[in-house]
Amino acid sequence: MIKIQSGFSLVELIVAMVIIIAITGSIMYGIASTHNSLRNAEIRQLAFIELSNKMEELKGQVALNRVQSASINEAKVCIEYNTIDDMIAGRNTGFGCRTVGYLSHNIKFRQTESIHAQIKDINANIRWKLISRYGQKGKDTTLSLNVSQLVFN
């Protein structure tokens, strides 16, 4: 009597398992990467809002000729507050702030020939840490804004 068996061999089974593990791993890695990318995009948008708010402040000071400080380096600011109460109270550190950034600005007077107007160049930038692959804070990233403000005498 000849018995023919048509099952899978051990090697075939192991190869199938390796393929399944590889596919599952890539799906999970993809989900984690997408999550981090979305979170980084969200923080980037919030950082831009914080920077544009600061720029609006500086434009007001320049336009009114009442500059509080011409240059500030790496002032600690909160990019992302936990609650509206934290934002109103200005809790830049501790539990009130989810993401911290560092703001710098520089206001320069530009020489012009006009006696009726003057131009001031405002440069501001914000630095914060990107979220890396494993959800930890990774490398620094910076966003800059340059504005030229015309001031009539």
């Binding site: 023919i4 336009a63 009442r66 509080q68 509206i84």
Partner: protein, 195 residues
């Protein structure tokens, strides 16, 4: 002598059991991943709607305030912008205020082309305004009066409520917009006197 050949084409009960176990683990894992992805997508969709609403409100107030001839933030939870077409008194007013379940209103009406997902009309998720106010960016002593009056912060707090099964989830979204009210620079007579 007769020769018999036995060909086994089907699966044994053991093979079937192992196959079923592996398939159920795979299907279970896949179902979990799909449900997680679905929840994540829904959550992002809700969050996107809140962010879109908050940013659009801020943009609306910003574009009104920078062109207004008069801005008043002294009333609690109210921002008043006045406009004039000549040198006399104000022609029109735009009053921003809020209602917890109706969102931010302009002169008592909801902002056009902007969806506020209220509790009454939505089951899966809804928004709620928790705070809406204007305040001076430079408050307190040590700041120049012109700058203090001209630069304001508009603050808006929105709570997002949604469910996952029987679990209720709440997230807070704080929004802030700093605005330099341009009229202060144009119509500021004290600046000339000081200089």
């Amino acid at each position: 002598m007769k020769k018999y050949i036995k060909i086994t084409n089907g699966f044994s009960i053991l093979e079937l059991m192992v196959a079923m176990l592996i398939s159920s683990i795979l299907v279970g894992g896949l179902a979990y991943v799909v449900s997680e992805a679905n929840f994540f997508l829904s959550k992002q969709l809700y969050r996107g709607k809140v962010n879109r609403y908050g940013n659009a409100v801020m943009h609306e107030i910003f574009s009104t305030t920078i062109n207004a001839n008069f801005v008043n933030i002294e009333n609690t939870d109210q921002i008043i912008c006045g406009f004039r077409t000549n040198q006399s008194s104000l022609d029109s007013l735009k009053i921003y205020e809020h209602r917890r379940n109706d969102g931010v209103l302009i002169n008592g009406k909801p902002i056009e082309n902007l969806n506020f997902y209220s509790k009454d009309n939505n089951k899966n998720f809804y928004m709620e305004i928790t705070d809406f106010q204007g305040k001076h960016t430079f408050d307190g002593q040590g700041y120049n009066a012109d700058v203090r009056d001209a630069v304001i912060d508009i603050l808006l707090g929105i709570k997002l409520h949604y469910t996952r099964g029987n679990k209720k989830i709440m997230e807070e979204f704080p929004f802030k917009k700093t605005i330099f009210t341009r009229f202060a620079a144009v119509y500021n007579s004290s600046k000339e006197i000081d200089e």
